[in-house]
């Protein structure tokens, strides 16, 4: 589904990713771990299509198509979703209105009519329940004054609504207490499926106890320096990132 080959990318003339290779197939969950500054967030931002980032070498294929020239919204229409580490506050647009707009813009891109209001409402209720989101929450301005946990739940709620093929979860565990972590992880697990791939980007192993990955990759200095199965995460937790840095 996602095939990254020798990706070199960065922004403002600085190359941050120095030759990433990653192959993600439908149904798989990959974890990308790494110390601060290793390029984790850059990788997710580049795949999502931020226009300030430039690819200097290598390719990103999604379902076999080179997506380098596609804008972020076009990538979203193809089925790529990025859950933000720091979701942006949008005062004046409620959670419900935002997701309605997003759903209908995705449908429009596919040549479909707007989703009928009752169908939309039903879906919103269903997905909100999945993330234990209160209906009052849905009429608040998007992310404005939300707690860390509420923001992340809202991200996964949007993922549930948009049903992407590939979801990249950037530091979804940061700022979460144990209860919120459980709710978010449960939500993500319910969204796992044979046609959907998930890439979990995280600094800590903690989230991976809840969202158990099929593969773990360790990123350091813009390169994947080690790949393995879920046991790698435990080993990393035990030995710390210095172990990787020394080995690299």
């Amino acid at each position: 589904m996602l095939s990254i080959d020798n990706l070199h990318a960065g922004c403002e003339g600085k190359t941050i990713l120095q030759g990433i290779n990653l192959d993600v197939k439908p149904g798989e969950v990959h974890a990308i771990m790494g110390p601060n500054g290793s390029g984790k967030s850059t990788l997710s931002t580049v795949v999502a299509g931020h226009e300030d980032y430039e690819i200097s070498r290598g390719t990103i294929l999604f379902d076999g198509e080179d997506i380098a020239d596609l804008s972020a919204d076009e990538r979203a229409h193809k089925g790529i979703f990025l859950s933000f580490q720091y979701p942006v506050e949008i005062p004046g647009v409620t959670v419900t209105n935002f997701i309605k707009t997003a759903i209908n813009q995705n449908r429009k891109a596919k040549g479909l009519e707007d989703m009928p209001a009752n169908e939309m409402l039903k879906k919103i209720r269903e997905k909100a329940a999945l993330l234990e989101i209160d209906s009052r929450f849905l009429s608040r301005s998007l992310n404005e004054g939300f707690s860390g946990g509420e923001k992340k739940r809202n991200e996964i709620f949007q993922m549930a609504m948009l049903e992407p093929k590939l979801a990249i979860l950037d530091e979804t565990d940061s700022g979460l207490d144990i209860d919120a972590l459980r709710i978010v992880a449960n939500g993500v697990n319910k969204l796992r499926g044979k046609d959907r791939a998930i890439v979990v980007i995280t600094h800590y192993q903690r989230l991976l106890e809840h969202i158990v990955p099929d593969f773990v990759h360790v990123l350091h200095d813009g390169k994947i320096v080690k790949s393995g199965t879920k046991e790698l995460a435990l080993e990393l937790e035990e030995k710390g990132y210095d172990w990787i840095k020394q080995g690299a």
Partner: protein, 438 residues
């Protein structure tokens, strides 16, 4: 002959026409003298520094319509709120149009100023209120006073809650080119009374037109006024609106100004507090493009203790458009415990667009809360990217963000039909389908 001279000689004809027997003659004569001395404001005057009238007054406007024009409802339907039951006072080229109007004297007077000025039963109210709060020394207000003849007269008696909003609508047609309209409105809301008013000036032609409107409003004790100005005119139509509101104890006057069109629009919105414990609210959304120009000059004169004023103006300026915001708050020495808030936020969509924004606080009391904030910025790039990752294309994302920026001003709009209309106008201006209601 320049416009000033034309107007001065027109005044002689106007005065001769219905002057001598007219009870306003003295006031008119005094007013034309003020205008004669001051002329049109120039950029040398602080209050008009950023607002050039030079081009506007190059056109030789006439104050006399050549003919009375009739309009079919179908021709103007889109400019009149239809989905709500309202009283209507409609003027076409400055002349009252009975066919499009719905006035009343049942429970409330919603009628013509010309009638109120001539009929004896209104004499006491006219004497008490007419030209009492309008500035005598402001040349454009004086010009209006000099030519006062017609406008809306609304008198809400004590304790009356007027359920139907009143629409005051002025149309300009192509039958009377280069017309200078000078409507004069008088609105009195007596003790414990309530009313909602919607005012609109709409040109139906691409001929140049110029409206210099003056509105005097009095809210007596505990009266509630909700006033909406919808300014979405042709790019050949200019408007100078001077509104003077005099408030008594516990009254609340709210004015929303939606400026989406026109060539040059200047709003002088003035609140005068005559008692303690008064509330004044003024909000606005300005959304313009091309070489449009919109100026908001607000004044709140806090003269007595324990009063509040709230100002919230949002401006969105595209292309080469220009905005001005000048918010003057005076807090007199006696006006302790005043709460005065002022907010003016602007987004420039383009580097050729501009806004001159200036808070002007003159505070003589020592126990007050006054705050003001102006911001000028662009749309948040991070928010745009965030929205894109959810499949919302840049154009729609920009539209939605801009809409969101302005939308909190809409939350205080009490007439649903106005709210919907403004919502729709914003969406149209931004070229996006908002797809939901506020």
């Amino acid at each position: 002959m320049d416009l000033k001279e034309t107007l001065l000689s027109s005044y002689l004809a106007f005065d001769a026409q219905d002057g001598p027997q007219h009870k306003l003659q003295d006031q008119r004569a005094a007013a034309i003298e003020v205008f004669e001395q001051q002329g049109f404001p120039t950029k040398k005057e602080e209050d008009w520094k950023y607002t050039p009238l030079r081009n506007l007054i190059k056109t030789n406007y006439t104050v006399f319509p050549k003919e009375e024009v009739s309009l079919k409802l179908d021709e103007v339907k889109e400019y009149i709120l239809q989905d709500v039951d309202t009283y209507k006072i409609v003027f076409v080229d400055g002349i009252y149009n009975a066919y499009l109007s719905e006035t009343t004297h049942v429970g409330v007077d919603v009628c013509l100023l010309s009638a109120a000025l001539t009929k004896p039963k209104y004499a006491a109210t006219i004497k008490k209120y007419f030209n009492q709060i309008a500035a005598k020394d402001a040349s454009l207000t004086a010009l209006n006073t000099a030519f006062t003849k017609e406008g809306a007269y609304i008198h809400v008696p004590e304790g009356k809650l007027v359920e139907k909003p009143v629409q005051i609508i002025h149309f300009t047609t192509d039958k009377n080119p280069s017309l200078l309209l000078q409507p004069r409105n008088l609105i009195v809301v007596e003790k414990n009374a309530e009313i909602q008013i919607v005012e609109r000036h709409q040109s139906l032609t691409t001929n140049e037109s110029f409206t210099n409107v003056v509105t005097e409003i009095f809210t007596e004790q505990n009266a509630q006024l909700d006033y909406y100005k919808i300014q979405n005119d042709q790019t050949t139509a200019s408007l100078i609106d001077s509104t003077y509101i005099s408030q008594r104890k516990h009254s609340h006057a709210k004015v929303h100004t939606f400026s989406f069109g026109g060539k040059l629009t200047r709003n002088n919105l003035n609140f005068y507090h005559k008692d303690p414990e008064i509330n004044s609210t003024m909000k606005g959304i300005t959304l313009i493009e091309g070489s449009q120009f919109v100026d908001h000059h607000t004044l709140v004169h806090h003269a007595q203790p324990n009063s509040e004023s709230h100002q919230d103006y949002k401006g969105i300026f595209a292309e080469k458009s220009t905005g001005v915001f000048n918010g003057k708050i005076i807090v007199e020495k006696e006006a302790q415990k005043t709460n005065a808030f002022q907010q003016n936020n602007n987004i420039l969509m383009n580097d050729k667009a501009s806004i001159n924004t200036k808070p002007q606080l003159e505070i003589f009391a020592d126990d007050v809360k006054c705050s003001h904030g102006c911001t000028i910025g662009q749309l948040d790039e991070d928010a745009l990217f965030y929205m894109q990752t959810r499949g919302i294309p840049t154009k729609e994302a920009r539209g939605l963000l801009t809409y969101a920026f302005a939308s909190n001003v809409l939350q205080s709009v009490k007439i649903d039909s106005v709210k919907k209309r403004i919502n729709k106008l914003i969406a149209e201006k931004l070229g996006v389908n908002i797809g939901f209601d506020v």
